[in-house]
């Protein structure tokens, strides 16, 4: 058996992780996304590629932004979209994950967009669907536990390429809660796949997974040192619930050492861009002046995210 994301013809059938995707595939997704960017500016903001297809947004963990952008992307491709917040329905009544999938599959879903708190859940669903439905049904991982969030990684790459044109000379820093972040993992895989020569992670030891160096990154615990001469600063959300454990003393303390302020940003290259996957905690990981400043591209990430998700959906739907 080959890679679980690819079908027998080597086409992308599911998007579960960026890890292991060929560079040409990643570039193809970004190139395709470029042609979808303009669709949102048309008088008719819709193309018919997924006409007659049903996309099920399956969110076992709540998320407003990601679910909304997947929904808009599917609707601009003319698909029928159903949003299911499973966290509040079946599983709370005791139904198993795969029973839920079987039931939805019996409603002839063509594509599942899955978010789940457990790492690997979308893989399980994809393998199960391959068994019961064959190659005509598709799964997109919209975030699983600490593992992966591939469309966020791809939209981040799209945003970087939009501003920096080329990955071959870049120095990129990822800052914050690396330990719990699926976004960080997907970004690291995407950046190294696209040939970025230097990827840095900046975090206190308590928020760094052990063995992170094996992913090909340089580790910094001093933010000022880590930001020196970087082209891209990717901030991560600090989940408030982490504060209750023993990982961090307080939000104020975190902001002092790892919050992105104008004076810390001044250590990066003058044309460095600032990114954040949202939702932001102003005054915890990022200062308002930076978040609203001229170097921030945070809202562009949201806009490009729709085009990238349209590209992923239309590439998957054509694989059969």
């Amino acid at each position: 058996m080959g890679h679980p994301q690819l079908n027998a013809n080597g086409e992308l059938q599911h998007l579960l992780t960026i890890e292991g995707l060929p560079r040409t595939m990643v570039e193809h997704i970004l190139d395709t996304a470029a042609s979808f960017v303009g669709v949102s500016d048309r008088e008719v903001k819709k193309v018919p590629l997924l006409r007659g297809k049903s996309v099920f947004n399956l969110f076992f963990e709540s998320s407003t932004r990601t679910r909304t952008t997947f929904e808009i992307a599917a609707k601009r491709l003319s698909a029928d979209v159903l949003n299911l917040n499973i966290g509040t329905s079946s599983t709370s009544k005791g139904e198993s994950l795969l029973d839920t999938i079987d039931n939805l599959s019996a409603m002839h879903a063509d594509m599942f967009v899955v978010r789940h708190a457990s790492s690997g859940a979308p893989f399980l669903i994809a393998e199960h669907l391959n068994r019961i439905r064959g190659p005509h049904v598709h799964v997109i991982n919209a975030g699983d536990g600490r593992h992966a969030h591939p469309t966020q990684g791809l939209l981040d790459m799209y945003t970087i390429r939009h501003h920096k044109k080329d990955f071959a000379q870049l120095r990129v820093a990822i800052v914050g809660d690396i330990l719990h972040s699926r976004v960080a993992r997907s970004d690291i895989h995407a950046l190294t796949t696209l040939g970025v020569p230097e990827v840095r992670v900046i975090a206190p030891y308590t928020l760094l997974p052990s063995g992170i160096e094996q992913m090909g990154v340089r580790v910094f615990t001093d933010m000022r040192e880590g930001l020196r001469d970087v082209d891209v600063v990717m901030m991560l959300r600090l989940q408030n619930e982490r504060m209750r454990g023993a990982l961090l003393p307080s939000a104020q303390e975190f902001f002092k050492h790892y919050g992105l302020t104008q004076d810390k940003l001044a250590l990066a290259k003058p044309d460095a861009i600032v990114m954040h996957p949202g939702p932001m905690n102003r005054g915890v990981e990022i200062d308002s002046a930076v978040a609203d400043g001229t170097q921030a591209v945070i809202l562009e990430q949201v806009t490009f995210g729709i085009a990238v998700r349209m590209a992923v959906m239309s590439i998957l739907a054509a694989a059969n």
Binding site: H28, E43, L49, I315
Partner: protein, 169 residues
């Protein structure tokens, strides 16, 4: 209008240009916008736009989003974007393609065009009509007619100095 079967792309182009030019001369009030369908149609549109010295900007159009064979063939490996730098609503449009075959590309291109607005009129100009229509679509301006059998295809290429060549594959 030259309707003799021909494989000489340059003479086909000259015939097409003269046909469009004559039609525009007959209606001097017209201010048409030229839109080429990627990729071959865009090359021809670019040259027509220059040779006819048209004032309206040149547009290019991709039919990829509306193709009826997407389910089988997917999106092209290299996607080209639609670029229409003028108002489509109320516009007088000459849509340009290289080879007219089944008519399916033109159908998809018209759908793409109408996503941008409602033009006042649309005419079709093609370098070559190879027969084999599957839809009720015909060209108003045509450089040459040369029927081919279903398994054969014309491939248009453009040399470095901008001249066209046609080959049968």
């Amino acid at each position: 209008m030259n309707k003799k079967p021909s494989l000489d792309a340059e003479s086909a182009y000259a015939a097409l240009r003269d046909a469009v030019s004559a039609a525009l001369a007959a209606e001097p009030a017209r201010k048409p916008c030229i839109i080429g369908i990627h990729s071959g149609g865009a090359w021809i549109a670019q040259r027509l736009h220059r040779d006819l010295a048209l004032s309206a900007p040149l547009g290019t159009l991709s039919s990829a989003f509306h193709r009826d064979d997407y389910g089988r063939r997917g999106l092209p490996a290299e996607m080209k974007s639609t670029d229409l730098p003028f108002e489509i609503k109320g516009a007088d449009i000459i849509l340009v393609d290289d080879i007219l075959f089944t008519g399916r590309t033109v159908r998809a291109a018209l759908n793409e065009l109408f996503d941008y607005g409602r033009p006042a009129r649309v005419e079709l100009a093609v370098l070559l009509d190879r027969g084999g229509r599957e839809l009720p679509i015909e060209a108003r301006y045509c450089g040459a007619v040369h029927p081919l059998s279903p398994g054969e295809n014309f491939v248009l290429s453009r040399t470095a100095d901008g001249r066209f060549a046609l080959e049968i594959e």
